[in-house]
């Protein structure tokens, strides 16, 4: 039986935690289990940061359980354009977040459980954590064929990936987090994790695609709750502590001072897009205008999410050359972002001669440029 405490207890606990590196006076040292009451990916990632920065992990380890409403989470050094279909994300209102740990891109929804194991840097041991998860699953359903690979994935039936792993190591603390697919929407998952952007050249960490399956597909009698509880219980047993899950509210500044700043930082464009390693785009596309098909070639260098250099090859005289060079000049230094590009290009239209033909050609070119973003 797992006990869940109220927020009041959480407050008491956190008061002790808040004092940096204070000795933990209670008898329960060894393992703490936290669960987030929020489904906001940014808030939950902020809690990870907060625990990493503020909790004394000398003699203690922490397990943090969380779930998110639909979101795509990319690794620290990844390129969102390379990893997912940003247009689709915007359409479906799926959030995009960049986490601080390395690794590949994952899709979260409420059918996916996230587990974060916090230890001090010396006790960082991913295999051990994943074996704990497998042990918990087998305790719940002994007939489940789950095992840990040497790539730190958990496979179901020897072929389907049900968990991916990533880690972050700081000066004194470290965390290893992993996902666990219980009942995620696989259709959305595969559609958003397919990038339509062509001609991208980048040194960003690429994701390794894998076939996935939900635990609930294998055994419909399971629920996310059951799996979560099983893991918490296994963790508690392993660390010889009470089966006690403390609920955390990531919006509560009194319990987690400074958390709101962390949450905000994770949502800034500079973090989500601006931290993309330098990349270049080299692509051609065809534009259909009236009865002719035009070949357009675009080359762009993007650094810190901004267009560092840009070159557009158009059929000669299709647009006034002065206007084209104005376009290139405007784009240079701007964010590689459809919203910003739309604003700039539509503004430029105000300043050109009011010629319908010119306007429709311009709009066609700009709309095609924007699809690259």
């Amino acid at each position: 039986m797992v006990l869940r405490s109220s927020l009041k207890t959480c407050l008491q606990l956190a008061c002790i935690l808040r004092t940096p590196k204070a000795g933990f006076r209670s008898t329960t040292s060894g393992g703490l289990i936290f669960q987030s009451v929020s489904n906001d990916v940014y808030q939950n990632l902020a809690v990870e940061d907060w625990i990493h920065d503020h909790v004394n992990l000398e003699n203690r380890q922490v397990l943090f359980l969380w779930r998110n409403s639909p979101a795509v989470v990319i690794g620290r050094h990844q390129n969102p354009w390379q990893e997912c279909n940003l247009r689709l994300l915007r359409q479906k209102n799926i959030k995009l977040a960049r986490r601080r740990s390395g690794g590949g891109t994952v899709y979260h929804d409420l059918g996916n459980i996230n587990l974060t194991f916090f230890t001090n840097r010396k006790k960082y041991e991913r295999m051990e954590n994943l074996k704990l998860v497998v042990k918990a699953l087998k305790a719940l359903r002994p007939q489940l064929d789950v095992h840990v690979t040497d790539r730190y994935d958990i496979l179901l039936d020897r072929q389907y990936k049900i968990s991916g792993t990533a880690a972050k190591l700081g000066r004194t603390a470290a965390y290893h987090h992993c996902t666990l697919l219980c009942n995620t929407d696989k259709c959305v998952l595969s559609s958003v994790l397919k990038s339509p952007y062509k001609g991208l050249k980048s040194n960003a960490t690429p994701s390794v695609p894998a076939s996935v399956k939900n635990l609930l597909d294998e055994d419909p009698g399971l629920t996310c709750e059951m799996i979560l509880n099983a893991i918490a219980e296994e963790y508690a047993t392993h660390h010889q502590v009470d089966h006690h899950i403390t609920l955390i509210n990531p919006a509560d500044e009194t319990v987690l001072p400074g958390i709101n700043n962390k949450t905000e930082e994770l949502q800034t464009w500079e973090w989500v897009y601006g931290k993309t390693p330098k990349f270049s785009i080299s692509t051609c596309f065809n534009m259909v205008y009236r009865d002719s098909i035009l070949d357009i070639k675009v080359d762009m260098d993007v650094k810190h999410g901004r267009i560092e250099a840009c070159n557009i090859d158009l059929p000669e005289q299709w647009l006034p050359p002065a206007l084209c060079s104005e376009l290139v000049k405007s784009l240079t230094g701007s964010k590689f972002c459809p919203n910003e590009t739309t604003t700039l290009t539509t503004t430029m239209l105000r300043l050109c001669p009011q010629d319908d033909e010119l306007h429709s050609r311009w709009n066609l070119l700009c709309e095609n440029m924007i699809t690259l973003m």
């Binding site: 840097r121 190591l169 230094g333 503004t347 105000r350």
Partner: protein, 476 residues
């Protein structure tokens, strides 16, 4: 702990020489839970090779993904140097030393090896000893921990926080009387010591959390003197402000604004303002709001303002025109594509409602809802942002009465709407009544629009809004 204090010292140069000597001596006498210190004769600006320490799990190589510093930057111990990645783990490497970065051994995306040099750091000579091993285990300053220090052969008990406060204010702990347990020096003792010295506020160190406050007793008598009628003379003290100017390039939305407004400068603007009594319109909207709600549309005042403007433009089409570059030709636009200025997180955008002349008030409201939700999501398309012929700016939702709006080329007119205020006005019988008043400020291109035209358009627009029923007569 010793090292930590040196770090916070480094930015106040006049203190450094004094204190480091003391630390050096005391460091030698330290025997405590940390690793051994190695004393060495250090010459000026010794360059130390900071090696990449063990990552764990038997990892021998990592990829350098991001540098947080560059050659020539000064770093303090525990500052982040770079981010490396190894097999799904992202590791933040922090500096072991205070000093200046002299060389980065790897470029981005290169493979770095554990145990090999990562960066070269030039350590300041006066810092003295540097520990041989990784000081990862050193816990940062804790308010609960107590440490001892031997100064002049006598133990002075004080927490690291108190020590730092003393050091920042150039106070020798040996000169302070401790009033805590075992003659421990408390924060209050330092503050009292300071109060006795001068009333001046000492310049805060950049990382200080504690700034000695001006003792309250001095401030109060000064206030009492005010009442006697004398102008109080402030206690002269050096005013310290450590903010810095920040320069960044103009990009994105601001760049767009620069372009538009620079072009607008060429237009000779004239202004015309008036006040509108919206009492009847307010009532009408109250009645219609729930009906629109049922149809799933939020009804504000803007759809009425927009529709009335379009009706006015039918009578005064020159306000919906465009003057070409050479000022040779005026084009009277057939469509009334009325732009609505929108304030988003990134800045100002002006999407427009197309063909208002054939839209009903409800259709305009519905279209506005669509544009507003796209605008706040940053997803407005090219079509929504181009082709505008006339603009209204409802700055009143934020505040203000009269404004001086700038015309957005290639248009020739713009209106800014102030906030709706409840003000006393006289009615036909000479009685005072509560009126809902809103101000409008028009700007127009004086090259093709004259004052009389603007005034007549404004009067017509005003009459539609003051008596909404009259709109029915002219609706197509």
């Amino acid at each position: 702990v010793c090292i930590h204090r040196v770090r916070s010292c480094s930015s106040i140069h006049f203190i450094k020489s004094k204190y480091v000597c003391v630390f050096d001596k005391s460091a030698l006498k330290f025997s405590h839970q940390q690793r051994l210190f190695r004393t060495s004769a250090v010459s000026c600006g010794q360059i130390v090779q900071f090696k990449l320490s063990d990552i764990g799990e038997g990892i021998t190589e990592v990829t350098v993904k991001e540098w947080y510093i560059k050659e020539g930057d000064s770093v303090s111990q525990f500052d982040s140097i770079c981010e490396v990645q190894s097999d799904k783990a992202s590791v933040t490497i922090t500096s072991r030393y205070d000093g200046i970065i002299r060389k980065l051994h790897y470029n981005l995306d290169e493979i770095a090896y554990v145990g090999k040099p990562l960066v070269d750091i030039e350590i300041d000579a006066s810092k003295g000893v540097a520990p041989e091993e990784d000081v990862v285990e050193t816990p940062p300053m804790s308010h609960e921990e107590h440490t001892h220090q031997e100064i002049k052969g006598h133990k002075t008990l004080a927490t690291p926080a108190v020590r730092r406060l003393a050091m920042e204010n150039n106070i020798k702990l040996s000169e302070v009387v401790g009033t805590g347990k075992d003659n421990r020096i408390l924060k209050e003792d330092i503050l009292n010591y300071l109060a006795k010295q001068t009333g001046a506020i000492l310049p805060p160190s950049p990382k200080a959390e504690i700034i000695p406050p001006l003792p309250k007793s001095e401030a109060v008598p000064a206030a009492a003197k005010d009442k006697a009628g004398k102008i109080p003379v402030p206690v002269s003290r050096p005013i310290v402000f450590s903010g810095k100017d920040k320069t960044e390039p103009v990009t994105g939305f601001h760049k767009a604004m620069v372009k538009t407004m620079s072009a607008a400068l060429k237009i000779p603007h004239f202004g015309y303002c008036d006040e509108i009594d919206l009492t009847q319109l307010v009532q009408l909207r109250e009645e219609l709001k729930p009906l629109a709600q049922i149809r799933g549309v939020k009804l504000s005042f803007m759809p009425f303002f927009i529709k009335a403007a379009s009706l006015g433009l039918l009578q005064y089409p020159i306000l919906n025109a465009s003057l070409d570059e050479s000022c040779q030709n005026v084009t009277y636009k057939a469509s009334h594509n009325i732009g609505v200025a929108m304030d988003t997180e990134q800045g100002l955008i002006v999407p427009n409602v197309k063909n208002v002349q054939v839209c009903s008030v409800f259709e305009i409201a519905s279209e506005l809802n669509r544009l507003q939700s796209l605008g706040s999501a940053g997803q407005l398309g090219t079509n929504d942002l181009t082709g505008g012929t006339f603009t209204l700016s409802n700055i009143g939702t934020i505040g203000g009465t009269y404004a001086k709006p700038v015309i957005l080329p290639p248009e020739v007119a713009i209106g800014a709407l102030g906030k709706i205020q409840v003000l006393p006005r006289f009615n036909g019988k000479g009685e005072v009544f509560k009126a809902q008043i809103m101000n409008v400020s028009w700007s127009a291109d004086h090259r093709i629009i004259d004052g009389a035209t603007m005034a007549r358009f404004s009067n017509l627009w005003k009459s539609y809004l003051e008596n909404p029923a009259s709109m029915l007569l002219d609706l197509k």
